[in-house]
Symmetry: C2
Subunit: 378 residues, 2 copies
């Protein structure tokens, strides 16, 4: 039985992870989790999973009655809550937090030598260099949960040299529209992803392609390739989750239905394939799989990602922070859809890179600077 901790239990990945644990009761046991806003989820989880003994919350004040009702469970709030879940007595930590907030608990978990199943993109996007260094120092495995990176992880071979990693991208809801046509798309249109049901932030990131930009940066750190060995290919059906091209000309691809339970269960077992509890893919029903080159002039965020990898240092961090602010502004109707990219470009242009070894302190500083700067553009 593998003991599982979940940071961000109420989100899409968190809920899917809980479903995987539920469907494989002989494999996994939930021992700790955090939730932020949806505190109504805590009690049912405690009733269902009796081995949970650590819970992280936004505010202890909000859950006083639970603290009294479940004396065997330790509740912690805010950053301490995330830290306590990340370092709880688990075999694997699922980091399913959304945003920059996911970074610190990853670092804590690495210090505590926990295996990490990583869904929090920001961890590697803003601090890939730091995370990799610390993971190696502490001999910690970081296993991707993201469908694309899981696909690559599944396709890699221990002794085979990689020529290129091919990240597939659905292209989002606006793939067939021109840059002009998407200038003023509505929130509702942007949130309506064609193939995956996801949270709001990641849905907008998919529509802008910043999500794929982040995945380029993640792939760079996860798989030890050069930035020019990472190619994005538009694949509207989202059936091929990604591919690896080896030096011999063979490409290996992983395909499956769009169900995060498949990569999550692969990550939780670290590669032992459990019986599927979801659907199997029928390729003849899908009929055709299409592939288009990703035009970097059309999908500017991809270009920004490659540039950030070349610039290194705090550039990727600023890319992320500016985008996080811009998406928030867009979701609050403060800026138009096309201005999301604009905010990021302007922030990156104004940023002075922090040279030398990347530290957590430098990242926090750059992140704060970028957020502050990005907020003032419009």
């Amino acid at each position: 039985m593998k003991k599982i901790a979940i940071l961000g239990a109420s989100g899409s990945i968190g809920q899917n992870t809980i479903e995987v644990i539920r469907r494989h009761p002989n494999e996994f046991v939930l021992v700790s989790f955090s939730v932020y806003k949806q505190i109504e989820l805590i009690e049912p989880l405690l009733n269902e999973f009796k081995n949970v003994n650590v819970v992280g919350v936004k505010s202890l004040e909000e859950i006083k009655d639970l603290i009294n009702k479940y004396p065997n469970v330790s509740f912690y709030e805010k950053d301490l809550g995330l830290n306590k879940v990340a370092t709880s007595s688990c075999d694997i930590l699922v980091n399913a937090l959304v945003g920059f907030v996911g970074l610190k608990p990853t670092l804590d978990a690495i210090d505590a030598k926990k295996t990490i199943a990583l869904a929090n993109k920001e961890t590697l996007v803003v601090a890939g260099e730091l995370i990799k260094r610390k993971a190696i120092e502490n001999n910690v495995d970081i296993i991707p949960i993201d469908s694309e990176h899981s696909a690559i992880y599944q396709c890699l071979e221990k002794n085979s040299k990689v020529n290129k990693i091919i990240l597939t991208a659905s292209g989002g809801p606006f793939f067939k529209k021109s840059l002009d046509e998407i200038k003023n798309v509505s929130k509702e249109e942007a949130l309506n992803h064609p193939t995956w049901k996801m949270g709001r932030k990641i849905s907008i990131d998919s529509a802008t392609m910043f999500n794929k930009a982040f995945e380029i940066i993640e792939a760079y750190h996860l798989f030890n390739v050069a930035e020019n060995q990472i190619q994005v290919l538009i694949h509207p059906q989202s059936i091929v989750h990604s591919m690896v091209e080896f030096v011999d000309g063979s490409i290996k691809a992983q395909l499956a239905v769009s169900d995060m339970k498949i990569p999550i269960s692969y990550a939780l077992t670290n590669g032992r394939r459990l019986e599927n509890t979801s659907d199997f893919l029928s390729l003849s029903s899908v009929g055709k799989l299409e592939f288009y080159e990703a035009d970097l002039n059309r999908f500017v965020p991809l270009k920004l990602a490659y540039q950030a990898l070349i610039n290194k240092g705090t550039y990727p961090c600023v890319l992320n922070a500016a985008n996080e602010v811009a998406v928030e502004l867009f979701l609050n109707d403060k800026i138009k859809f096309y201005q999301i990219v604009d905010v990021v470009i302007k922030t990156l242009s104004a940023h002075e890179n922090e040279k030398g070894v990347l530290t957590y302190e430098k990242i926090v500083k750059a992140d704060a600077w970028a957020r502050n700067f990005a907020r003032r553009i419009y």
Copy 2:
């Protein structure tokens, strides 16, 4: 340096194997080969590959001058020639013979404990049961060269349970035609395969789908799956060379340009991927990959293959022998295209299965009976 022996050096697979050896002179050395009709190939090969010391030919009479000119090379004729190449001092034997004649040298190589890179389909089609038993007894590896089986071999994982093997089939030149339309297609039309350049026998087998039928039987023996775990999927682009579906719902696919040098070099190294000397695949240039269910009523040979696997014994052998005769009759303008399947069905219907443990003698007997029977139908 790996010492390579090639049975059938003049054919398509043989020539591609030689090209792989030529392009990787630090990896491979050719030590023996056989040719049948194209004796003009022998001298250039001996001049190019100085380590060749065994050559198998159709008739010593035909190559008298070579025997005198190359005193360090041992020449043998007929079955002995094949036997001497199969058991020559090599690290790996490439069996690229076409037809039933490929079986005996495979058995000889197994007895001599040679690793076998197998392109000869008939070996496993007619004698899969026997070959598998002997390979296990002698602890011999049989590595597929066929692009489909190589793809599967590349996608399998040591510790992952397979749900299903998905053999892709281009559908051949007549995939979009009705059974009625293909009744009287010409030899030229049947030989004109849309995606692969191959020998005459295998081109006709691709047009009838007997080639795919044989691949079902080969996959059954190579990969230890039940017959109902093997699915054929029509994929006209021939880019996905085959796939493996695991129990967790993940499908892994191998993709590459249609170049046999890729699976051949994979087989020769047994999985160490060498630098590609061919083209790399551009999926955005291909644009789309299509998949259609294979209708067993439209593609009767597939149904016959599943039935032969259920019937076991000498049924697969008779399937092969009857088809070999029928293709020969078709190529000699003795029967029409649609009658190829007809000859096979009639022969199978008349066959009385040889029960009990499958032996070489039983196979030879059934093969001879089937050929004799098939020849007399029209």
